[in-house]
Amino acid sequence: MSPATERPGPALLTAVAVGGVFGSLGRYAVGSALPHPASAWPWGTFLVNLSGSLAIGILVGWIAVRPGSHPLLRPFVGVGVLGGWTTFSAFAVDVVSLTTHGRPLLALLYVVVSVVTGTLLAGVGIVVGQRFEEGVEVLEGGLDSEGGLDPEGGLHPDGPARETPR
Protein backbone atom coordinates (compact mmCIF):
# COMPACT_ATOMS: atom_id res chain seq x y z
CA MET A 1 0.00 0.00 0.00
CA SER A 2 1.53 3.29 -0.99
CA PRO A 3 1.88 5.98 1.68
CA ALA A 4 -0.85 8.01 0.07
CA THR A 5 -3.47 5.31 0.62
CA GLU A 6 -2.51 4.36 4.13
CA ARG A 7 -4.66 5.86 6.83
CA PRO A 8 -2.79 8.76 8.47
CA GLY A 9 -0.66 7.34 11.26
CA PRO A 10 -0.05 8.81 14.72
CA ALA A 11 3.00 10.82 13.67
CA LEU A 12 1.14 12.50 10.86
CA LEU A 13 -1.96 13.13 12.96
CA THR A 14 0.12 14.55 15.77
CA ALA A 15 2.05 16.81 13.41
CA VAL A 16 -1.20 18.15 11.98
CA ALA A 17 -2.77 18.54 15.43
CA VAL A 18 0.21 20.41 16.86
CA GLY A 19 0.46 22.60 13.80
CA GLY A 20 -3.25 23.25 13.94
CA VAL A 21 -2.99 24.31 17.56
CA PHE A 22 -0.20 26.77 16.82
CA GLY A 23 -1.98 28.23 13.84
CA SER A 24 -5.30 28.50 15.66
CA LEU A 25 -3.77 30.14 18.70
CA GLY A 26 -2.16 32.65 16.38
CA ARG A 27 -5.48 33.31 14.70
CA TYR A 28 -7.12 33.67 18.12
CA ALA A 29 -4.47 36.22 19.08
CA VAL A 30 -4.99 38.22 15.90
CA GLY A 31 -8.75 38.11 16.36
CA SER A 32 -8.45 39.29 19.94
CA ALA A 33 -6.16 42.11 18.90
CA LEU A 34 -8.48 43.24 16.12
CA PRO A 35 -12.04 43.03 17.40
CA HIS A 36 -14.64 44.48 15.11
CA PRO A 37 -18.35 45.21 15.27
CA ALA A 38 -20.53 42.94 13.17
CA SER A 39 -21.13 45.63 10.58
CA ALA A 40 -17.47 46.50 9.98
CA TRP A 41 -14.76 45.01 7.79
CA PRO A 42 -13.56 41.77 9.44
CA TRP A 43 -9.89 42.68 9.66
CA GLY A 44 -8.80 39.75 11.80
CA THR A 45 -10.18 37.07 9.53
CA PHE A 46 -9.08 38.99 6.46
CA LEU A 47 -5.48 39.30 7.61
CA VAL A 48 -5.03 35.70 8.65
CA ASN A 49 -6.63 34.38 5.50
CA LEU A 50 -4.59 36.51 3.13
CA SER A 51 -1.28 36.02 4.94
CA GLY A 52 -2.00 32.31 5.17
CA SER A 53 -2.70 32.12 1.46
CA LEU A 54 0.64 33.76 0.70
CA ALA A 55 2.39 31.49 3.17
CA ILE A 56 1.02 28.27 1.75
CA GLY A 57 2.20 29.34 -1.68
CA ILE A 58 5.67 30.00 -0.31
CA LEU A 59 5.68 26.61 1.41
CA VAL A 60 4.61 24.73 -1.69
CA GLY A 61 6.94 26.63 -4.00
CA TRP A 62 9.87 26.11 -1.68
CA ILE A 63 9.26 22.39 -1.19
CA ALA A 64 8.74 21.84 -4.89
CA VAL A 65 12.31 22.85 -5.75
CA ARG A 66 13.97 21.67 -2.59
CA PRO A 67 15.49 18.20 -2.69
CA GLY A 68 14.75 15.96 0.25
CA SER A 69 12.57 17.94 2.64
CA HIS A 70 11.11 16.16 5.64
CA PRO A 71 7.90 14.29 4.77
CA LEU A 72 6.08 15.78 7.75
CA LEU A 73 7.00 19.35 6.84
CA ARG A 74 4.21 19.99 4.42
CA PRO A 75 1.52 18.37 6.59
CA PHE A 76 2.74 20.17 9.69
CA VAL A 77 2.98 23.62 8.14
CA GLY A 78 0.46 23.39 5.32
CA VAL A 79 -2.33 21.26 6.72
CA GLY A 80 -1.62 22.02 10.37
CA VAL A 81 -0.31 25.52 11.00
CA LEU A 82 -1.80 27.25 7.98
CA GLY A 83 -5.02 25.25 8.15
CA GLY A 84 -5.39 26.44 11.71
CA TRP A 85 -4.18 29.96 11.00
CA THR A 86 -6.70 30.46 8.23
CA THR A 87 -10.41 29.84 8.48
CA PHE A 88 -13.30 29.54 6.07
CA SER A 89 -15.95 29.27 8.78
CA ALA A 90 -15.20 32.68 10.25
CA PHE A 91 -15.06 34.10 6.74
CA ALA A 92 -18.50 32.66 6.00
CA VAL A 93 -20.03 33.89 9.25
CA ASP A 94 -18.45 37.31 8.65
CA VAL A 95 -20.38 37.46 5.39
CA VAL A 96 -23.62 36.44 7.08
CA SER A 97 -22.99 38.93 9.83
CA LEU A 98 -22.34 41.82 7.47
CA THR A 99 -25.41 40.95 5.45
CA THR A 100 -27.73 40.69 8.44
CA HIS A 101 -26.37 43.94 9.84
CA GLY A 102 -27.34 45.88 6.78
CA ARG A 103 -24.04 45.84 4.86
CA PRO A 104 -24.69 43.48 1.92
CA LEU A 105 -22.45 45.42 -0.47
CA LEU A 106 -19.61 45.38 2.01
CA ALA A 107 -20.20 41.65 2.37
CA LEU A 108 -19.95 41.20 -1.38
CA LEU A 109 -16.79 43.28 -1.53
CA TYR A 110 -15.33 41.25 1.32
CA VAL A 111 -16.02 38.00 -0.51
CA VAL A 112 -14.56 39.18 -3.80
CA VAL A 113 -11.47 40.80 -2.29
CA SER A 114 -10.76 37.83 -0.02
CA VAL A 115 -11.11 35.19 -2.71
CA VAL A 116 -9.36 37.05 -5.51
CA THR A 117 -6.50 38.37 -3.40
CA GLY A 118 -6.06 35.08 -1.57
CA THR A 119 -5.84 33.16 -4.83
CA LEU A 120 -3.34 35.59 -6.34
CA LEU A 121 -1.24 35.66 -3.18
CA ALA A 122 -0.98 31.88 -3.27
CA GLY A 123 0.44 32.19 -6.77
CA VAL A 124 2.82 34.94 -5.74
CA GLY A 125 3.89 32.81 -2.79
CA ILE A 126 4.77 29.89 -5.03
CA VAL A 127 7.13 32.05 -7.06
CA VAL A 128 8.65 33.54 -3.92
CA GLY A 129 9.16 30.10 -2.42
CA GLN A 130 10.84 28.80 -5.53
CA ARG A 131 13.08 31.84 -5.89
CA PHE A 132 14.03 31.71 -2.22
CA GLU A 133 15.17 28.11 -2.48
CA GLU A 134 17.00 28.78 -5.71
CA GLY A 135 18.72 31.70 -4.04
CA VAL A 136 19.76 29.49 -1.16
CA GLU A 137 21.18 26.96 -3.58
CA VAL A 138 23.15 29.66 -5.35
CA LEU A 139 24.62 30.68 -2.03
CA GLU A 140 25.41 27.08 -1.16
CA GLY A 141 27.04 26.65 -4.56
CA GLY A 142 29.48 29.34 -3.45
CA LEU A 143 30.89 27.22 -0.57
CA ASP A 144 34.51 26.16 -1.04
CA SER A 145 35.84 22.64 -0.37
CA GLU A 146 36.39 23.29 3.37
CA GLY A 147 32.83 24.38 3.71
CA GLY A 148 33.75 28.03 4.10
CA LEU A 149 32.04 30.77 2.20
CA ASP A 150 33.74 31.49 -1.11
CA PRO A 151 34.13 35.26 -1.27
CA GLU A 152 32.95 35.18 -4.84
CA GLY A 153 29.86 33.29 -3.69
CA GLY A 154 27.68 32.21 -6.53
CA LEU A 155 29.61 34.38 -9.00
CA HIS A 156 32.49 31.91 -9.31
CA PRO A 157 33.77 32.05 -12.89
CA ASP A 158 33.07 28.36 -13.42
CA GLY A 159 29.54 28.83 -12.14
CA PRO A 160 28.12 27.62 -8.82
CA ALA A 161 27.89 23.90 -8.20
CA ARG A 162 24.28 22.85 -8.48
CA GLU A 163 22.87 19.56 -7.24
CA THR A 164 19.71 19.87 -9.24
CA PRO A 165 19.62 21.20 -12.79
CA ARG A 166 17.54 24.28 -13.30
Partner: protein, 116 residues
Protein backbone atom coordinates in the same frame (compact mmCIF):
# COMPACT_ATOMS: atom_id res chain seq x y z
CA UNK B 1 -8.03 29.28 29.96
CA UNK B 2 -9.74 30.45 26.80
CA UNK B 3 -6.55 29.84 24.83
CA UNK B 4 -6.46 26.30 26.17
CA UNK B 5 -9.98 25.72 24.87
CA UNK B 6 -9.00 27.09 21.47
CA UNK B 7 -6.06 24.70 21.47
CA UNK B 8 -8.24 21.72 22.39
CA UNK B 9 -10.76 22.49 19.69
CA UNK B 10 -8.00 22.96 17.14
CA UNK B 11 -6.30 19.73 18.16
CA UNK B 12 -9.49 17.93 17.14
CA UNK B 13 -10.42 20.03 14.13
CA UNK B 14 -7.15 19.95 12.21
CA UNK B 15 -6.60 16.17 12.23
CA UNK B 16 -10.27 15.71 11.46
CA UNK B 17 -9.79 17.73 8.30
CA UNK B 18 -6.91 15.45 7.37
CA UNK B 19 -8.97 12.34 8.04
CA UNK B 20 -12.02 13.60 6.15
CA UNK B 21 -9.83 14.36 3.15
CA UNK B 22 -8.25 10.93 3.39
CA UNK B 23 -11.53 9.06 3.69
CA UNK B 24 -13.17 10.95 0.84
CA UNK B 25 -10.17 10.34 -1.38
CA UNK B 26 -9.67 6.65 -0.64
CA UNK B 27 -13.26 5.55 -0.10
CA UNK B 28 -15.08 7.70 -2.64
CA UNK B 29 -12.27 8.65 -5.03
CA UNK B 30 -13.05 12.28 -4.30
CA UNK B 31 -10.71 15.07 -5.34
CA UNK B 32 -8.80 17.08 -2.74
CA UNK B 33 -11.03 20.03 -3.58
CA UNK B 34 -14.07 18.00 -2.58
CA UNK B 35 -12.47 17.33 0.78
CA UNK B 36 -11.74 21.00 1.32
CA UNK B 37 -15.31 21.83 0.35
CA UNK B 38 -16.72 19.24 2.74
CA UNK B 39 -14.87 20.51 5.80
CA UNK B 40 -15.47 24.14 4.93
CA UNK B 41 -19.20 23.61 4.54
CA UNK B 42 -19.48 21.59 7.74
CA UNK B 43 -17.45 24.05 9.79
CA UNK B 44 -19.32 27.02 8.40
CA UNK B 45 -22.63 25.43 9.32
CA UNK B 46 -21.54 24.80 12.90
CA UNK B 47 -20.13 28.29 13.31
CA UNK B 48 -23.34 29.69 11.83
CA UNK B 49 -25.28 27.90 14.55
CA UNK B 50 -22.99 29.32 17.21
CA UNK B 51 -23.39 32.79 15.78
CA UNK B 52 -27.14 32.42 15.66
CA UNK B 53 -27.26 31.40 19.29
CA UNK B 54 -24.87 34.25 20.07
CA UNK B 55 -22.54 31.81 21.78
CA UNK B 56 -19.64 33.58 23.50
CA UNK B 57 -16.84 32.81 25.90
CA UNK B 58 -15.64 29.28 26.52
CA UNK B 59 -17.95 27.44 24.15
CA UNK B 60 -17.17 29.83 21.32
CA UNK B 61 -13.45 29.40 21.97
CA UNK B 62 -13.64 25.61 22.00
CA UNK B 63 -16.11 24.91 19.21
CA UNK B 64 -15.90 28.09 17.16
CA UNK B 65 -12.41 29.52 17.21
CA UNK B 66 -10.77 26.19 17.94
CA UNK B 67 -12.69 23.43 16.25
CA UNK B 68 -14.35 25.21 13.33
CA UNK B 69 -11.36 27.42 12.75
CA UNK B 70 -9.01 24.46 12.48
CA UNK B 71 -11.45 22.21 10.66
CA UNK B 72 -11.91 24.77 7.92
CA UNK B 73 -9.18 26.30 5.82
CA UNK B 74 -8.82 29.27 3.52
CA UNK B 75 -5.17 28.75 2.59
CA UNK B 76 -5.70 25.34 0.99
CA UNK B 77 -8.66 26.74 -0.90
CA UNK B 78 -6.58 29.64 -2.21
CA UNK B 79 -3.86 27.26 -3.34
CA UNK B 80 -6.40 25.06 -5.10
CA UNK B 81 -7.97 28.02 -6.85
CA UNK B 82 -4.57 29.32 -7.95
CA UNK B 83 -3.59 25.90 -9.34
CA UNK B 84 -6.78 25.67 -11.35
CA UNK B 85 -6.42 29.28 -12.51
CA UNK B 86 -2.83 28.74 -13.55
CA UNK B 87 -3.84 25.72 -15.58
CA UNK B 88 -6.54 27.81 -17.19
CA UNK B 89 -9.21 25.27 -16.32
CA UNK B 90 -11.95 27.82 -16.44
CA UNK B 91 -14.91 25.52 -16.09
CA UNK B 92 -13.34 23.79 -13.12
CA UNK B 93 -12.59 27.19 -11.59
CA UNK B 94 -16.13 28.38 -12.06
CA UNK B 95 -17.55 25.19 -10.59
CA UNK B 96 -15.24 25.28 -7.61
CA UNK B 97 -15.89 28.94 -6.88
CA UNK B 98 -19.63 28.51 -7.24
CA UNK B 99 -19.81 25.46 -5.02
CA UNK B 100 -17.52 26.89 -2.38
CA UNK B 101 -19.33 30.17 -2.12
CA UNK B 102 -22.90 28.96 -2.43
CA UNK B 103 -22.51 25.90 -0.23
CA UNK B 104 -20.03 27.41 2.19
CA UNK B 105 -21.73 30.73 2.68
CA UNK B 106 -25.11 29.03 2.42
CA UNK B 107 -24.21 26.62 5.20
CA UNK B 108 -23.23 29.47 7.50
CA UNK B 109 -26.43 31.29 6.69
CA UNK B 110 -28.50 28.13 7.18
CA UNK B 111 -26.94 27.50 10.57
CA UNK B 112 -27.64 31.06 11.52
CA UNK B 113 -31.28 31.16 10.48
CA UNK B 114 -32.08 27.75 11.97
CA UNK B 115 -31.62 29.37 15.37
CA UNK B 116 -34.21 32.07 14.74
Amino acid sequence: MTALLVALGAAVGAPLRLLVNHELRTRYAASPEAGTLAVNVAGSFVLGLLAGYAIQGSWLALIGTGFCGALTTFSTLALELWTVLEDRRWRHLTTQLTLTLTLGLGAAYLGFVLTR
